[in-house]
């Protein structure tokens, strides 16, 4: 019986030591976490802010000039759009559950016409916005650092200030815009809801959607 008791005691003290070691390790680990990546996080936030400022500066410089022809403005917008927005990811999100059921060819067609629709819709909007002021506000990380939400305020010359939030994807120090939200209304969510409705009412046929979008771009030009 004594041996059994002694065994019990040594087992307990062994496990208690292990527990204490574990606790120590955890404390050190937590402290390390608190100290080290904080600087990394701050860097990423700064970089994201810089990316956005650069993007808005370029947009103002290239797109608000009233003297350039509409086609030229569309071209410039398309370049900025392709370079700075993650169009494939946006297109994929916008199609939602229908993306999986779409073959490669149709996906490519959709992304192409989707890009055209965006260009036709947004390029003309920039006239009359010369002198718009952007101010970057809070930046926070979401999705374990893969995405960042940047708040900003946009003050057009003759209009009320608008709250605009940007969702950025971050990979290897490069940033791409995933979504723009103005006064709580998200571009990606709105389009997803609308296209989803069209797809639902046409039995999930992506071709119907693509045809409708093509019609839209034909009308615009």
């Amino acid at each position: 019986m004594r041996t059994a008791l002694r065994k019990q005691r040594t087992e307990t003290s062994v496990s208690r030591r292990a527990l204490l070691r574990w606790i120590n390790g955890a404390i050190v680990g937590v402290l390390a976490l608190a100290w080290l990546p904080a600087s990394g996080r701050a860097d990423q936030a700064d970089a994201a802010g810089a990316f956005l400022i650069s993007l808005t500066d370029r947009s103002m410089a290239e797109l608000t000039d009233e003297s350039i022809p509409a086609d030229e403005r569309k071209q410039r917008f398309r370049r900025l759009f392709k370079d700075n927005f993650d169009i494939p990811a946006i297109g994929r999100f916008v199609l939602g559950r229908y993306w999986r059921a779409t073959d490669e060819v149709a996906r490519g067609e959709f992304l192409a016409v989707f890009e055209d629709v965006m260009v036709d819709r947004f390029a003309p909007q920039f006239t009359g916005y010369a002198g718009t002021k952007f101010k970057i506000g809070a930046i926070r990380e979401v999705k374990e650092g893969n995405q960042l939400m940047v708040s900003s305020t946009v003050a057009p010359p003759n209009s009320e200030v608008v709250q605009v939030d940007w969702r950025l994807r971050s990979s290897n120090g490069e940033f791409k815009v995933l979504d723009v939200t103005a006064q709580g209304v998200s571009m990606a969510l709105t389009l997803r809801s609308e296209y989803g409705s069209v797809l639902k009412n046409s039995g999930g046929k992506i071709d119907t959607l693509i045809a409708l979008l093509r019609e839209r771009t034909a009308k615009a030009s």
């Binding site: 494939p88 559950r97 409705s197």
Partner: protein, 279 residues
């Protein structure tokens, strides 16, 4: 005193509440069609929370017709004939008259600071602002905000019920439609109108307010309609999102803490496979 108006409103409210009892509580508009927080976006059942879609689309078409033939021309004329100052005064008076309703809802939501702003606005604009014609309070640090009983219900946990397009008023929901009715009861001017036998005071105020509001978004709505491939769905989505924004009072949507409205967007991280299909 003729209480027939109240009887009618009470009847409408009763019907809406009965419908609400049937619709499940706390059912929120999956704003994007994603119910709640869904990690895997592609496995969900697309739910627009629009069980009355056929009826709604019909009502929407009706409202659009009313808009094309009556409201929009009236708004365009209003904008054409009256200078900005006059139109702003109209809006200011209407906003001022709505202060009691806004105050009541601020209080119901426990928003004391906003309630104070509303009170100060009412006092300042009614006196210094000459019966509400001039929005003096805005320059004195009391910006305008609106509240309604639909938002109050939402703050207390009520889901939207389902999407509902109202005649004339347009996009709404079961909850917000009921809220409209309650606000009418909350409005002291409704009672004043009855006492002094000012017929249709509410109607005139609503109509003028409607025309003024419409005059401020003519081009924006035109753009929207031109850009949409499904205008009904577009408006439904915009309504829900801006409603959620109003309920949050413009605060950023922290999906982790806000159980009411999750607009957690899940962009697939294997977008690389999507990239290969372009160019």
């Amino acid at each position: 005193m003729d209480f027939s108006v109240f009887r009618r409103f009470a009847a409408v409210l009763a019907v809406l509440l009965a419908l609400a009892a049937c619709a499940s509580q706390d059912k929120d508009a999956p704003i994007s069609g994603v119910p709640g927080e869904s990690a895997d976006v592609y496995d969900i059942e697309d739910d627009d929370n629009d069980p009355l879609e056929t009826v709604n689309r019909f009502m929407f078409a009706f409202d659009l017709t009313l808009d094309v033939f009556i409201l929009k021309p009236a708004a365009a004329t209003y904008r054409f004939l009256l200078p900005v100052v006059v139109r702003d005064s109209v809006r200011n008076v209407i906003r001022n008259l709505r202060s009691p309703v806004v105050l009541a809802n601020d209080l119901f939501q426990g928003e004391m600071e906003r309630a104070e702003t509303t009170t100060m606005r009412f006092l300042i604009n009614s006196t210094v602002g000459v019966l509400g014609l001039i929005d003096v309070a805005d320059g004195w640090g009391y910006p305008h905000h609106d509240e309604d009983f639909g938002q109050t219900l939402a703050v207390h946990g009520a889901g939207e019920g389902f999407y509902l397009v109202l005649p004339i008023f347009g996009p709404s929901s079961l909850r917000d439609g009921a809220g409209l009715v309650v606000d009418t009861f909350l409005d002291p001017l409704t009672y004043v109108g009855r006492i002094y036998d000012i017929e249709d005071e509410l109607l005139v105020r609503t109509a003028v307010g409607g025309i003024d509001t419409r005059s401020r978004n003519i081009e924006a709505i035109d753009d929207l309609q031109r850009d949409s491939i499904d205008f009904y769905a577009r408006i439904r989505s915009l309504y829900r999102q801006s409603r959620a924004n109003d309920i949050r009072n413009g605060a950023s949507d922290d999906s982790q803490t806000s159980g009411l409205y999750s607009s957690e967007i899940d962009f697939s991280d294997d977008a690389d496979s999507a990239k290969k299909t372009t160019d």
